[in-house]
Structures are given as C-alpha cells and as structure tokens.
C-alpha cells in the first residue's frame, strides 16, 4: 500500500468558505457588490483547489488532508481525508457553489447575509465530504442545517402555486419542514453512530470502524437506522416530502445547492457510513415479508418507487419549480437504486449519478428560477405558455434544452453514463426491477419534454404587448456555461470520474461491502 499522501490544501476549501462567509458579512454590510465578489472569489478558490486535487490524485489511495487529535479520551480525531469518491463530490461542490453564486448575483435584499449563509452552507458541505472521522462528519452535516433554514425563510418564495396565505408564512413553513426533517434524520444517524462507537471500541475513525467486525445482529439493527437517517436527506420515498416544497420555496442559488449538493450529502452518508461500516446489514434476513428478504430489497424497492413516483407527480405539475423538485426525487431514486445493486458498476453509476444530477439540477433550477421566474414572476406553466419564452429569452430556452437532454439521459450527457451504469448494475443484481426502471426513464422523458415544450415552445396564442423581458446577464451566462461544459465533458469523457470512483471502490475501506454473500 502506498504511503498515504498528505495534501493539506484540500482543507482550505472548508476554511476559506467559512472565512469568506465572515468576510462577506462584514465587508458587504453597506456594499452588496463587495459581498458578491468575495463570495465568488471564495467559491472559485474552492473550485480551483478541488480541481488541482483531482488532477494530482493517484487512483485508489486515501489522501490524508489533516489529522490531529481532538478529544483523545473519546477516540475522536480531527481527521480530514479524501478518496476518489470524496474528490468527485468535492469537485461537484466546487462547481455547483460557483454556479450558484453566479446565479444569485441579482440578490438585492440583505445581500451580505445571503452570501454569508451561502458560504457557511458550502463550508459545511465540503466538511462532510472530507471527513474521515465519524463525529466530524456528523458535525459538518449538522452545521449545514441552519444556513439552509435561513436561506429559504428569508429569501425564498412561496412553495406552492395558489396556496392561500401570506408568502412569508408559507416559505417559513417550507423552511421549517426542511430543517426539522434534516435534523430528525441526523438524530437517527446520531443514535447509530453512538452505538457504533460504543461497540467499536470507543473510536470514531472511519478507517478503524470499517475494519471492525461488528456482529451481524448488531449491523442488521444499526444499518437501517443510519441508512434511513441519511436517506431522509437524500429524498428517499416516503421521507421525501420536504424536498419538492423546500426546493420550490428556496431562492434559486439555494435550490441549486440544495437539490444539487445537499441531497448528495444524504446519499454519500448512505454509502460512506451505512454501507461501508455495516455491510452485513444488507444480508438476507432468512425470512420473506411481502416478497422482500433483506434491507437491500426494501431500500431498492423504495428507490424504485421514488423513481416512478417522482416522475409521475412531475408529469402533472402546473408549477414549473415543482416539476424540477419532483424530478430531483426521481433522480435520487436512481442513485439509491444504484447503491442497492451492490456491484461495482452499479455503485459507480450511483456516485456518477450523484455528480451528474448535482450539475443537472443546478442547471434546471437556474433556468427555472433565475432566468424565467425572476423575469416573469410566475412559475405557473399555464401562464408561461403564452409568453413564448423561446423567442423572448432564447438563451434560456437553449440552456433548458441541453439541461432537459441531460436530465432524460440523452447520450453525450453525464446523465446517460450514470443511468446506463445503474441499469447494468440493476440487470446484474436486481433484474426484476429493470423493466420498472426503464418505465421510470420513459415517464421522466415525458415530464421533461412536457415542461420544456409548455414553458418555452408553446404554440398557442401569444400574450399581447408584454413588456420585453430583461436580457440575460453575464453572470447567468457564465454559470450556464460552467454547468453545461461540465455535464458535456463528463458525458463525453466519463473517465474523468470513473477513474476516481472505481479504484476507490476497490480499496480496503470497502472490503466488507465486496465480500458479501450476495456477490
């Protein structure tokens, strides 16, 4: 085994984010532009660091970033490290954060505080992906909850069309729901990790715990606890109800980050904590209930339901933002299904889908929120149709076409590679679910195309004498190009990511997952 490389710069993604949050708060107090610039520079710095880390990474190794004793008597360390999977998600965070800030350039109300909360959220997210100590991971996971609440409560909009009530109250409700669900999920996780700590010899080190053999009985009990706790944040059906409303209520930059990256925290936790540490929890129970014989069957089924349910609800939505919100539930269902295939290609597909959907969700929310809603002040597809947006803001139409293509998994986009790998994984391990997954893809194509054509290319009568819509600003263009370039690059040259993910799945950390009875 190679000596673990040391790369302290990666930790600066976290530190810079928090420092940037403070700087933005103070410097931007009376000058909003200062806050924006600071935020953008911070995000770009984080992106640069993550790209350089990816480029220098030697496949398969675990890159130690920082390792200091923190609370030695409890076996808790300040241990930051990254393997290929972490780097993929750190890269995603860098890209999504930069794009999110670009698309939030037009925030005028309490700008400094907005970017402060935003950067704090980003810092927390970086922290989760880089933590190799279980408690540290949990700490960063919880740090991310509070900024989410405020971002939605202060700068959001009403979560649903035509809902009776004051807009302020409604978005506060959506924000509170999101915060409480996240906190409840993390509560479950806390119970699980304390249990692991107690039984595992009072250590919180991921590496040590990965090599501890907990009893099968113990794992069978702790695994669902931790998995469900994380899966709540990943939007697994039926714990997904916070997601569509929450994303719809959030301001554009926040929903890009929420749907794009924060939901991936949950999926990452499912993989890194639940599956890596307690793989025996996926073993067959020995009995069958309603055709399900193990937690793996249960969660695979829930993922499958999420795919079809999310897509079907999106198909009948009138609210453009809710279409995207439900599509996130559907796509995350794919990721969860991929996780449950428990073979290399399926898991690779799942991580790939996390990255891919992060970018795609960012694109979709950017168009729907920033480009369309901020100009037309409506999210109702029926109201948007007569506006003939393809003529009014062609840039938005083109970007949405690309985003839609990526979302439906058209080859050439990252979505295709992700779905394709997950489907192979499904064929290998859960063949009876393949047809339903395919049906889910078809429904996904249907709702995406419906939204696209209705919002942009409607052929009905036009609205008479509408004020011309504001032109597309340069931050919007930059953000769109960044995201589009990413999804195209990864879609046409998937090795960028698979070379990171696959060797990491072969590392000793995932030993337990590889040697299951179901291989």
């Amino acid at each position: 085994m190679l000596a673990p490389a040391l790369s302290p710069t990666l930790a600066w993604t976290i530190y810079l984010s928090f420092l940037g949050a403070l700087a933005s708060l103070f410097a931007g107090n009376k000058r909003p532009q200062a806050a924006r610039v600071i935020a953008l520079l911070t995000a770009l710095a984080g992106l640069a660091i993550s790209i350089s880390a990816v480029v220098q990474y030697r496949p398969g190794e675990v890159l130690t970033v920082a390792r200091l004793p923190w609370i030695p008597q409890l076996g808790i360390e300040y241990h930051l490290a990254a393997d290929g999977i972490s780097l993929v998600l750190v890269l995603l965070t860098g890209i999504a954060a930069t794009a999110g800030i670009l698309f939030s350039w037009n925030i005028e109300h309490r700008t400094a505080e907005f970017f402060a909360f935003y950067l704090a959220l980003i810092g927390g997210v970086y922290g989760v992906f880089l933590s190799f100590d279980l408690l540290l991971l949990f700490v960063f996971y919880e740090i991310a909850i509070i900024p989410k609440y405020f971002l939605i409560a202060i700068w959001g909009s009403s979560p649903r069309l035509g809902q009776k009530g004051h807009a302020g109250t409604l978005r506060e409700y959506a924000a509170m729901k999101l915060a409480l669900y996240s906190f409840a999920g993390s509560g479950l996780v806390l119970a699980g990790i304390i249990a692991a700590w107690v039984v595992g010899g009072q250590t919180m080190s991921l590496q040590a715990l990965a090599h501890t053999s907990f009893s099968a009985h113990f794992q069978m009990g702790v695994f669902p606890l931790v998995f469900v706790g994380f899966a709540v944040l990943a939007g697994m059906w039926p714990f997904h109800t916070w997601a569509p409303g929450g994303h719809a209520a959030a301001p554009t930059g926040a929903s890009m980050l929420l749907a794009g990256v924060v939901m991936k925290l949950g999926a990452y936790g499912c993989l890194r904590v639940a599956m890596m540490l307690f793989p025996r929890g996926l073993d067959p129970w020995g009995i069958h209930l309603l055709g399900l014989g193990s937690w793996r069957d249960v969660f695979a089924l829930l993922g499958l339901i999420g795919i079809v349910y999310g897509a079907s609800i999106a198909l009948v939505q009138r609210d453009f933002k809710l279409v995207i919100g439900y599509s996130s539930v559907s796509h995350m269902g794919f990721a969860l299904l991929g996780l449950m295939t428990l073979n290399q290609i399926g898991l690779d597909g799942a991580v790939f889908q996390m990255f891919s959907h992060g970018i795609i969700a960012g694109l979709l929310f950017a168009v729907v929120g920033r480009m369309v809603y901020d100009r037309t002040h409506t999210r109702d597809l029926n109201e948007l149709a007569p506006m003939h947006l393809a003529r009014a803001i062609p840039f938005a139409a083109v970007v949405f076409i690309f985003a839609a293509m990526a979302s439906i998994g058209l080859p050439g986009s990252s979505g295709f590679i992700a779905e394709f790998q997950i489907l192979i994984g499904v064929w290998r391990s859960l063949p009876q679910m393949a047809a339903v997954a395919g049906f889910g893809i078809v429904v996904g194509i249907a709702f995406t195309w419906r939204a696209l054509t209705k919002a942009f290319f409607s052929s009905g009568p036009a609205n008479a004498a509408e004020d011309p819509l504001a032109p597309i600003t340069w931050p919007e263009r930059l953000g769109a190009f960044l995201l589009l370039a990413t999804t195209l690059a990864v879609g046409l040259y998937p090795r960028i990511l698979t070379d990171l993910i696959l060797p990491s799945l072969d590392s000793p950390l995932f030993e337990g997952l590889r040697t299951g009875a179901w291989r």
């Binding site: 609370i71 008597q73 909850i145 409560a153 509560g187 119970a191 249990a195």
Partner: protein, 493 residues
C-alpha cells in the same frame, strides 16, 4: 477525622469568606455612596467589589489541600474545586450583567444578595454532610426567593417570588423528611457512611420512601417535571438578571449536589432500569417526563422567558440521564453539560437584559433584531443553537457526550430508549428555538425602530460568553479534560 481548630477552619473556608466579605462590603459601600454618587458609579463600584471578591475566591480555592472534615462537613477535592470555580465564574458573569439593571435603586442589597447566594452555593457543593446540604440549600433558596421578588415595580415579580417560596418551602419539607429517614437508616449524616447502609442487598421500604422524598426535594431544585411548576413563573416574573442567575449557577449547584447525594450517598441503592427498586427507575421517570413536558410545552409558548423556562425543564431531563447512567464517564458528561448549559442560558438571558425587556416578554418583541442589533442577534443565535445542540457549539458536544456515555454503560444498551427519546425531543426543540430565531432574523423590524443602544460592559460580557460557547464547542477538550481529571482524582481517593 479529628476535630480541627477554628483558625484552621477559617483558612480552609477562605474562599467563602472572601465572597461573604465582598457581599458585606458591597452593601456597605452602597449605603455610603448612596447620597453622593450617581447611580452609575454605585453600580460600577458594587460590581467591581463583587467581582473582585469572587476572583479572590477562585484564587484561594485553588490553593486548598485535599481534605475532608468531620462527618464530611467540608470536602475539598479537585472536583469540588472545579465546581466552585465554575460557580464563581458564573457569578462574576452575572454580576457583570447586573451593571445595566434598572429595576431597583437598592443596588448594594441586590448585588450583595447575589454574592450571599454564591456563598451558599459554595458551601452546598463543598459538603458531603446531609445537614449542611440542607442548610446551604435553604440558604440558597431564601436568597433566590428574595432575588426573585426584587422588582417592586411589577406585580409579577412578587407573585413569582411567592410561588417560588411556597413551592420551595414545601419541597424543602419533603427533603428534610427524606433526610431524616436516611439518618434513621444509617445513623449518620455523612454520605459515605450512608452509602454502606444503603448498599444493603434488599432495599428497606423506608429507604425507598426516603429516596422518593429526596428525589422530590432535589427534583424541585433542578426543575424536573412534575416538580417544575415554579419555573415558568419564576423565570418570567423575576428580574432578568435573577432569572439568569437561577438558570445558570443555581442549576449547576443543584445538579452537583443531587449527583453527590445520589451517587455517593445512595450508591448501591441504584436499582436497575429494569425496575429493580432504587433511585434509578425514579430518575428515569423524572427524566422522561421532564423531556416530554419541557419540550412539548415550550412549543406553545409566546413568551420568551416561559419558553426558556420550559426548555430548562427539558434540559433537566437530558441531564438526569447522566445521573441515571452513573458511570464516571457519564458524570463527567453531566458536569460538562450543566456547565455549558449554564453558559448558554446565561447568555440568552444576557441578551434579554441587554435589550432591556423588563415587562416586555413576547417573541414578537424580538422582531427584526438582526437589523436593529446585529451583534446581539448573532450572539442570541449562538446561544439558542447551543441549547438545541448544533455543532460546533458547546451544547452539541454536551449532548453527544451525555448520550454516548449513557449508551456506554456496559449494560447492553439498557438506556437506548431514553436516549432515543432525548434525540427526538431535541428535534422538537429545534422547532421552538428556530421560531425565536425566525423572529430575530427573518421578521422585519417594526416601523420606526432605531438600532438599540447596549451598555458596553453588558455587551462585552455577552461576547465573552459567546466566545466561550464557541471555543468550548470547537475544542471541548479544554473543559472536558479538566473535568475528567477531577472526576478521576475524586472518585478514587
């Protein structure tokens, strides 16, 4: 232990004497200055004297030998030193807050009473003798009743004090009854001698009654449900600084003495959570009830102080888990929890004090705080999030240590359900704390409100407390290490 000379006794109790002297000095100085000096100078002088006295006491406390006097009357271990130091520090912070009080002109008396209460607490935590415990407890309680009723401008203050007094008196009666039963069983007032009697294999029914009585008495002190009914009214009616004092120092002292009595005196009568009779099942019940009542009632509150009072009840519930687990690790966790809780609660009340909200007690009064007083709003955010248990603030680690130690009892996760209940109630607490923060950060400020002026000393105190909350959250080992060492040295003499 043989008798000890008065001079020797005096030397050993120097810290308490220092504080008592400071109290007297403060009162005297105030009387002398009353005619000539302005109010501001009088306050500053009194606060200075009080703080100096407490600081001196801290210094003196660290120079005491480890010794235990007759019948456990006075005990000096690293643990008691730790707790006394913490109490003195909290008192200093409370005194600094009192710099901006406006509800009374009897400054010297008010501050003197606080100092006297501090003396009472120092004795309370420094003894392992049941009688001295009771005396100190009463001493403390009387001071607190007076402090509660000190605001003569408001009827609520008097009402609160009366309720507090009636409740307190009743529970003191229970406590005394329980103590006398314990004396009857063991023929001694020393906790350690009591332990040998209590450790008998079959629990004497009289013993059980005694345990229940003691539980009631202390349960009242720490505001555990169903003995918590005084708390909302006291927190709401009392002047802000008094409420701060009750919420912080008094809680610490109360818990510490509860722990002492139960784990030293009644060790062996613990029983198991599986309802072998003993004090553990009783405390489990109190804990569960406190968590439920405290958190669920807090949801419905529209008064800020009552919300904090009910949340205090909830926190008592969490802390009782630490006693139930009764391992050295859980005791350390409990101490950490109560100290950091005291800091956060003190901070929350400090913010209220800075906003000069005597008599104005609705959540809506906080509207738009982040625009009117951004610094205060930020500190309030820190304090409330620490109370919720959000990292990287000290409250998170307190909860984590407590839950971890509760599950680490080697008893095959016997307390699992209690911990799960605690986690669930924490989620509930997020809801009502966020409601407060929502007012502060999200709601727009009322029309025509100007940024408020905060007295600089109060502001400095608040920032100090906030800094401590964050530092102890990021580097919990600073406090935990100290506590661990103290616990280790004290429990294995």
């Amino acid at each position: 232990m043989t008798g000890i000379g008065y001079l020797e006794l005096l030397r050993l109790t120097l810290p308490e004497i220092a504080v008592a002297l400071a109290a007297l000095l403060a009162i005297t100085l105030d009387i002398l200055l009353a005619k000539h000096a302005t109010r501001k100078i009088r306050i500053h002088a009194a606060v200075f004297v009080g703080c100096a006295g407490c600081a001196a006491a801290i210094f003196l406390a660290h120079n005491s030998p480890a010794i235990s006097l007759t019948d456990g009357m006075l005990v000096f271990t690293p643990l008691t030193t730790l707790v006394q130091t913490s109490l003195l520090a909290l008192s200093i912070l409370t005194l600094l807050l009192c710099d901006s009080i406006r509800f009374t002109d009897h400054i010297g008396e008010y501050l003197g009473l606080i100092l006297i209460a501090t003396v009472a607490m120092m004795f309370l935590v420094g003894t392992q003798n049941l009688l001295l415990i009771f005396i100190s407890l009463e001493f403390l309680s009387l001071s607190l009743y007076l402090l509660t009723g000190f605001d003569k401008r408001r009827r609520q203050s008097a009402e609160a004090a009366l309720k507090y007094f009636l409740f307190g008196g009743m529970s003191a009666g229970f406590l005394l009854f329980g103590i006398s039963l314990l004396y009857g069983v063991s023929n001694s007032l020393d906790l350690r001698i009591l332990a040998t009697a209590a450790g008998a294999p079959n629990l004497d029914p009289l013993m059980l009654i005694a345990i229940v009585m003691v539980a009631i008495g202390f349960g009242f002190k720490v505001a555990a449900a169903p003995f918590h009914f005084w708390a909302p009214d006291a927190y709401q009616g009392a002047p802000t600084t008094t409420a701060a004092f009750i919420a912080s120092s008094s809680k610490v002292a109360g818990f510490f003495v509860f722990v002492q009595v139960v784990t030293i005196g009644l060790a062996g009568a613990a029983g198991t959570p599986a309802f072998k009779p003993g004090w553990a099942p009783i405390l489990i019940l109190l804990s569960a009830l406190s968590m439920l009542v405290g958190n669920l009632a807090a949801i419905a509150q529209s008064s800020l102080r009552r919300l904090l009072a009910y949340s205090a009840v909830g926190h008592t519930g969490y802390m009782l888990i630490g006693i139930v687990a009764h391992t050295p690790q859980s005791l350390a966790a409990l101490l950490y929890y109560v100290l950091t809780y005291a800091l956060a609660a003190l901070g929350a009340f400090a913010v209220l004090q800075a906003l000069d909200t005597e008599g104005v007690d609705t959540l809506a009064s906080l509207a738009g705080l982040s625009r009117r007083a951004p610094g205060l709003a930020f500190c309030l955010l820190l304090f409330l999030l620490s109370l919720t248990g959000i990292p990287p603030l000290s409250g998170f680690f307190a909860k984590f240590f407590l839950f971890a130690s509760a599950l680490n009892t080697g008893d095959n996760f016997a307390l699992l359900w209690l911990v799960l209940l605690a986690i669930a109630m924490s989620v509930v607490s997020l809801y009502y704390y966020l409601r407060v923060l929502k007012q502060a950060f999200v709601a727009p400020p009322p029309e025509g409100s100007a940024p408020s002026e905060t007295p600089p000393l109060t502001l400095a105190t608040i920032w100090t407390i906030a800094g401590l909350v964050v530092i102890l959250g990021c580097a919990p080992n600073l406090l935990l290490g100290w506590i661990d060492r103290a616990v280790a040295l004290s429990l294995h003499p």
